[in-house]
Symmetry: C2
Subunit: 236 residues, 2 copies
Amino acid sequence: MSVATQTEAVPEPRIPLSKERVLRAAVGIADEEGIEALTMRHLADELGAEAMSLYYHVANKEAILDGVVEAVIEEIEEAVGGYEVPTDLDDWKAALRERILLARNVMLRHPWAPGIIETRRTQSLAAVRYFEGLAGVLREGGFSYDLIHHAMHALGSRALGFSQELFEPDDPESSDEDATAMMEAMADQFPYIIAMLGEIAHDDPDSTLGWCDDQIEFEFGLDLILNGLEGHLEAS
Amino acid sequence: MSVATQTEAVPEPRIPLSKERVLRAAVGIADEEGIEALTMRHLADELGAEAMSLYYHVANKEAILDGVVEAVIEEIEEAVGGYEVPTDLDDWKAALRERILLARNVMLRHPWAPGIIETRRTQSLAAVRYFEGLAGVLREGGFSYDLIHHAMHALGSRALGFSQELFEPDDPESSDEDATAMMEAMADQFPYIIAMLGEIAHDDPDSTLGWCDDQIEFEFGLDLILNGLEGHLEAS
DNA sequence: ACCTGAACACCGTTCAAGT
DNA sequence: ACCTGAACACCGTTCAAGT
């Protein structure tokens, strides 16, 4: 019957599925609805297909998670503009710092990515390429391979632009009054922590209690490591 | 009928469930069978009860995961022997280092714990107590609260004794020959990484290719941060 | 070659009901 | 007070069957 009506929307000519489309849609769902919304059924829905159809293009859900990590790290590669070691490298520290902060920008666009990167048992090719690039910068900066190896471990996830925040970033539910009340209640149990939080709040009255500028803290920790590595380099 | 036989085992007088028993059993399952084996049904089975009975003692599975993290951190508290700041503290760096390495020992007994600690949205009381202890050591060591705050962020998960290893620790499946073959295949694509791995293998022929001594690397990274903090302390 | 319906073996969880 | 059976709404996945 719908054929009769002139104004009827022509049904979208079905775009065939593909691994790329599946992965792109997966990243989209994670970005917009959170990683827990990424189920096979929901993903298929988003693509106008059935869950079972996905298995024709990917082995299983783990493969999707692998692919999604790969996609994010390729986004870093794009942001960095490729991993070629600059021929005129005169400051390995600045070069490394810049790459890592660019990686961080990508991670901030995909806040769910760190959590799933850490669950991968084996690193994607894209990640190996990224680390190869970092190793190149260090090597051309004068590092021994032994020190490069230590550097990779010391940086850990910071190399990819994130560090696991052990306390929750910030809770939009809780008010300043709540926080103040809680602080007073805990003051005798946790004097050092309370004093610390109090000082932070004093230094920066705009920040909610217990909330920290993650960017500044990330850079502080990163610089601590980079400077430490520089010390080792000079001593060698 | 079983009542008649003398040798019949008396049926275990049912020990009532409790939050503590549930959590202890949960830690046991995660230790022995891995965290993915920790399901409500399996946990109840282990306790000789039905899954639904657990809900009388804990709110839900999230609460069990919270409790299990709490238990692990209390194990750290025990290993450290309480978090009292030594009255004769003459070396904050050694004191902090020791606490963190003791925490690491506990984490090595519960290799699944880091992964689930990172999924907690809010820290347990036991964790706050632990960090209070670290803050105390730093404060009595002469740190400003501002620097203590930076230190906490810079340490990140290292404060609790673990760092996320981005490459898999080691794969018992793959042989040295496999690894050598793979290395040669990748040598032109990833010259720096291959050279790095080659040098490690050369320095320590006992280690499998690509495998690293996590303890040494953990301590290297930790010392980098502690020494960096010392620099900030002396400069202040 | 590509997609799907029906079905399976699992999850966590609710609720009314049992002792 | 403490535990459970039946049931629900979800998972990921297999497989034979459709076009």
